[in-house]
Symmetry: C2
Subunit: 430 residues, 2 copies
C-alpha cells in the first residue's frame, strides 16, 4: 500500500482522483500495488465537482498532507509559482516524493527543486507537465535511454494549435479563431501564456533538461507567438507547400543548444504538419532510434490525470524497495475470448472484375440485397463492350459472414472473372 | 554494475552492442548504473561485423552465458522458435532476467515463458519485439497504466507498409513494389511472414496481452496479407478518400476482443494514413487519455538495439534492490550553452505589405542583397495600382541577424505599410 495526498482539487485534480478511484482495481491488478488516496487539500471545499469523495478526505490545509506520515507521495496540482513551490519544497524536506503537472514552476524553479530532491533522495514526477496524456517524458527517460537525442520538434500548446488550425481550415482571422477557441473552452479569457508561446517554452525547457541534460532559462530562448499570423500568410504557406505551426524547437550542435518557440513554415508532408486542433505532438531524433513521434491530447482533466497517475504508479513501484521486482504481463479473467471475425460490422469495399454487358450490375446487387447488404456507392469505369472491367462498390455496414457468402455466390456467375476482392473500411476510432 | 550476456550476434545483436559501447557513458550518467557486456555468443564467430569486440568476449556456446554467475541479464537475439526458446527457459531457470526481440517466440510460447518467469521471479523484457525503436510496450505498461485501453490500431510491419506505399506513390504492381523492397533490403527473399500479415499478427498478440491482459493465439485471429491488392484498388481507395494499409486491429467490446490483421481502407485524414514507407505506428485509445499515437522506425539494427538497451537499463534500475531509488534529471557539463538565435541559419518566408507601384520589388530585393540574402521565390498578387498589396518572398538559407536588420531597413521605406512579418522555414529533421 502506498499513501497519496493531492494538493489542488481543480480540473486536473478531479481527473486524477477519478482515475485513482474508477481504475483502482485495474492498476492494482497490473502492478500489485494498492494506491490509497488519503487526503485532498483545496482552498475551496464547497465547489461542486465531477467526483464524489468522502468529506473526511478533504481539508483546506495542505500541511495536513505534507505532515501526514502515511502519505509517501504528494501530488501538487494547484499550478502557478506560489504557493505551489513552497508546498513542494516542504514536502521534499519531509522526504516525500512529489508529482506535479506544473510546467511554469519547473521551468522557473526546476534547478532548485531538483537540487533539493537529489539531496533528500526524493523524486519529482512531472509527466503531466508536458503534453498532457502523451507519455513523452517517460519515452525520453526510459524508452530512448540508449540514445543521444539530437533534435526535438514539438507542437506543445493546444490552444495556439487550435487557433492556427481554425485559421487554416476556415480562413478566419486570428481574432475570430481565438474567440472560437475561447467559446469551446480551449483558450483562457487571457490567452497570452498560450498564444504568445510562453506555455510552449516552459514545456520545451523541461524537454531540453531531460533530453540534453541542460537547464536553460526562459530568458535564454527566443519566444514568439502566433498573434501576427494573418490569413494571407496561411494562404501563401499552402501555396508553397507548407503549413504554419507554432513550433518548439531544440537541437544539439556539439556543445551548443539551439532552442526557440516561434511560428514556422513546416513542409506539408512532415509528420507534425498533420497534428491539428488541440492535439500535441513531439518529434524526436535519437542517434540510434532515428525519428520518433508521440501524439495525443495535450491538456484536459483526464489526459493530464492519466499522466499524473502514471507518475504515482511509477514511483510506487520503485518505492517498495524489495529486491528485484519483475514486471510480468498479467492475464486477467475479465476477458472471455475473441469475437468471431465474421460478426464484426463494418462498411466494405468490393471490387469485381466483370464482363461489360447489360444486367451485370443488377445481378450483383440483387445477390447482395438477398443477403441484406446495401450499397452506398458504385463505380464502373473504362467501359469496353464485351471486355472485362472493374466494378467497385462500397457497402453500408455489413457483417463479414453474409458478405463473404454473397461474394462466393457472385464469384460463381459466368460473367465474373477471378476472385472478387473485398476490404473492410476501418473508419478509425478517435 | 550489472552484467549482461548476449546470445545472437546478428543485425540486432550488433546494433545493441554498439549502443552499449558507444553510449555507455551516457547511460551511466543518466542512471548511475554501469552496464557491463560480459559475453556474446553466436554460432558464427568469424563473420565480419560492424563493431569490434575483444575476442575473449566471444563464445560459440550460449551455456557459457546462461551459467555465468556474473551475468544477471541474458539477451536473446537469435530469433526463431528453437533453440531461442530453450535458451530463454534455461536462463529463467537459472534466475536470469531475459530481454528478447523475438515476437514469433512470444506469440507462440509467451504463455509458458511468462508463467515460468512468474514462478522464478524473473522478468522478460520485449520492447524490441514490437515496432523496433518505438517505445510502445513501455508506453502501454507505464505511461498509460491508469487507462483501460479500448482499441489498438497498428501499422506493425514495415515491409508491407513499404510495398503499399510504393504501390500508392508509383502506381506499381505488388510484384514490382516487392522487388524494390527486396532490392533495398526492406524485404526478405522469402517475404511471406511480412506480406502475408503473420509478423504483424505476432506483434498484435503481444500488444493485446499487454493492453487487454489476454493471451490470444494465432489461430484465434483473422490474418490476411497484401498480395491481392492491385493498383486499381489503390486508385479507387484514393477516389473515395481512403488509403489502403495493412492494419492490425484489436478492440475491446465488453469481455470480448475483436482482433485481426488485414488490408483495410483507412480515411485519408486518419493519423495512421500518413505513416508511409518502412515506418510503423500504433494508435491507442485509452479511456482517460483518449487518442495516442506512437510513430517511428519499426526495424533495423539501431532502432531495435535502442529498444533492447532500454529493456536492459529498465531491468538494471529495478535490480539494484535498494530502497527508494529516485530518478532525478541529471545535468551534464557537456553542454556549454545556447547558440544565439540570430546565428541560426534557415530559409525564411517574408511578407511585406507594400504600395503597388514600379520599383518597389527592386528596392526591397536590393536591400536584402546588401545583407547577402538571396531570394528563391517571389509572389505578388492582387495588383491594384496605388493601393497596398502583399508581397511574399522565400529566401535561401540566411542568418536571422542580418535578415532582421534588412527587414528593419525595409520597414522604414515610405511605400511599406506596417511591420513586415518573417517566419523561419523549418524543413524538419528526419
Amino acid at each position: 500500500m502506498i499513501g497519496v495526498g493531492i494538493i489542488g482539487f481543480g480540473t486536473v485534480g478531479v481527473g486524477t482522483v477519478k482515475i485513482l478511484r474508477e481504475n483502482h482495481w485495474l492498476i492494482k491488478q497490473r502492478t500489485g500495488i494498492d494506491i490509497r488516496l488519503l487526503k485532498i487539500a483545496d482552498v475551496d471545499l464547497k465547489r461542486k465537482r465531477d467526483v464524489n469523495v468522502e468529506p473526511n478526505l478533504l481539508t483546506d490545509d495542505p500541511s495536513e498532507i505534507i505532515n501526514d506520515d502515511r502519505i509517501e507521495i504528494v501530488v501538487e496540482l494547484i499550478g502557478g509559482i506560489r504557493p505551489a513551490y513552497d508546498y513542494i519544497i516542504e514536502a521534499i524536506r519531509k522526504g516525500k516524493w512529489v508529482v506535479t503537472a506544473n510546467k511554469a514552476l519547473l521551468a522557473e524553479k526546476g534547478t532548485e527543486i531538483f537540487k533539493l530532491a537529489r539531496e533528500k533522495n526524493c523524486e519529482i514526477g512531472f509527466e503531466g507537465s508536458v503534453c498532457g496524456g502523451i507519455p513523452v517524458i517517460k519515452a525520453i527517460r526510459d524508452g530512448l535511454i540508449g540514445n543521444k537525442i539530437t533534435s526535438i520538434l514539438g507542437i506543445l500548446n493546444g490552444t495556439s494549435n487550435y487557433v492556427l488550425t481554425k485559421m487554416t481550415e476556415e480562413e478566419s482571422s486570428f481574432e475570430d479563431a481565438l474567440k472560437e477557441a475561447q467559446k469551446y473552452g480551449f483558450a483562457e479569457r487571457d490567452p497570452s501564456l498560450d498564444v504568445d508561446g510562453v506555455d510552449a517554452a516552459h514545456k520545451l525547457l523541461i524537454l531540453i533538461l531531460l533530453a540534453f541534460h541542460y537547464q536553460l532559462r526562459m530568458e535564454d530562448i527566443v519566444v514568439r507567438g502566433v498573434r501576427r499570423i494573418e490569413p494571407i500568410d496561411i494562404k501563401f504557406a499552402k501555396e508553397f507547400g507548407y503549413k504554419i505551426k507554432l513550433l518548439a524547437v531544440a537541437k544539439l550542435f556539439g556543445s551548443e543548444i539551439e532552442a526557440r518557440v516561434e511560428p514556422v513554415m513546416l513542409p506539408i508532408n512532415h509528420p507534425l504538419s498533420s497534428v491539428d486542433g488541440v492535439y500535441n505532438a513531439v518529434f524526436i531524433l535519437g542517434d540510434r532510434v532515428g525519428a520518433n513521434l508521440y501524439y495525443g491530447r495535450g491538456a484536459g482533466a483526464d489526459p493530464t490525470g492519466s499522466a499524473v497517475v502514471s507518475d504515482i504508479v511509477d514511483m510506487a513501484l520503485r518505492m517498495r524497495g524489495e529486491k528485484k521486482i519483475p514486471r510480468i504481463p498479467v492475464v486477467s479473467d475479465e476477458i472471455k475470448g475473441v469475437r468471431p471475425g465474421n460478426e464484426v460490422c463494418a462498411p466494405f469495399y468490393m471490387r469485381f472484375i466483370a464482363e461489360d454487358r447489360p444486367g451485370v450490375l443488377s445481378k450483383i446487387s440483387g445477390i447482395l440485397a438477398s443477403y441484406n447488404i446495401s450499397i452506398s456507392a458504385v463505380i464502373q469505369k473504362g467501359r469496353k463492350e464485351g471486355g472485362f472491367v472493374p466494378i467497385v462498390m462500397l457497402t453500408h455496414e455489413a457483417e463479414e459472414g453474409p458478405l463473404k457468402k454473397a461474394k462466393d455466390e457472385i464469384d460463381k456467375l459466368s460473367f465474373i472473372k477471378g476472385e472478387t476482392l473485398y476490404l473492410r473500411i476501418e473508419e478509425g476510432s478517435s
